[in-house]
Symmetry: C2
Subunit: 182 residues, 2 copies
């Protein structure tokens, strides 16, 4: 999936992020589900956004910001071979980060992000803005690819929004599945 239009000022997105955080919190508190994050290029913006909402400690256990490859391996259990073979910014690493966070931190859902926020770090094969978002939960693991076209700040916000949207989708699917099974 390619990038969507980005609000350059970030003002509208800040409000939108807050709305998404409140929606996620209401869903998780109702189902008594917990959430953790495993972030690279978003650098903590996901947990920061979620903890802006009072009462978030009721479902958010925390998260790991694994900016260096050493932390991706040591704290999230991403195999070094996977990083070497596919690069830190890859679907495989996003998948391993989400699964590692889920297992090591013991939550119902884990969301992960790895990407190149810019302005440096891009290449022809992996340009600035390339981002992979992963979600792991009771329904399995899902990874999506995005290609943002903004600056560093806009790319961080866009990735945070995409991560929250993917996570909310997974939580809603799980809630519908649980309701159908009752």
């Amino acid at each position: 999936m390619d990038g969507q239009p980005i609000d350059p000022s970030g003002t509208a997105e800040a409000g939108e992020l807050s709305t998404l955080a409140q929606r996620l919190q209401a869903l998780c508190l109702a189902a008594r589900w917990t959430v953790v994050s495993a972030e690279s290029c978003t650098g903590g913006m996901i947990v920061d956004t979620l903890t802006d909402v009072p009462g978030s400690s009721g479902y958010l256990l925390g998260g790991i910001v694994a900016y260096s490859d050493a932390l991706k391996e040591g704290q999230l259990g991403v195999p070094g071979e996977v990083i070497t073979a596919h690069g830190a910014v890859s679907a495989q690493v996003a998948r391993a980060m989400a699964l590692g966070a889920l297992e090591r931190l013991g939550a119902t859902f884990a969301v992960s992000v790895t990407g190149i926020a810019g302005p440096d770090g891009g290449s022809e094969a992996k340009p600035v803005g390339l981002t992979y978002v992963g979600v792991a939960g009771p329904g399995g693991v899902e990874v999506r690819r995005f290609a943002w076209v903004g600056d560093r700040a806009a790319n961080k916000r866009a990735s945070t929004r995409a991560a929250l949207e993917l996570l909310i989708g997974a939580v809603e699917t799980a809630a519908a599945t649980a309701a159908a099974a009752r």
Copy 2:
């Protein structure tokens, strides 16, 4: 140390935080030192602020947001007895978080924050706004107490600012010590 005046709008503080992040980055890149964070009530705002600066991956390894006590124990190695004896918001836990992050994540410096951002979670003994900030590094470990008087957002920003200031102070002291030894 008690709380200092807080900018209610947060606008001036956002600029100030960015300036502090740039200063920390310049100091650490010059000395080739690395930094990690261990955050509770700031919820990732410290790493988010630091990663807003391009090139931050040159010194910032990442961080752990340990919102739940289970993550404080499991990911940062804070002894459960210390949490039980002193509470999660205490100088002892801030100290253990900083030392745990330093050891487990393998950086030169670690900064930690534990506090009550509000609006809930306060008590007579530990009111909303009570916050402990810790820094561990080559010079040892230091913890300071703050008592903020703002709302949740203002308290998060004030704690982030206090953490960055304490961290920069420790880095500057270490740099001066290293220079004197040459």
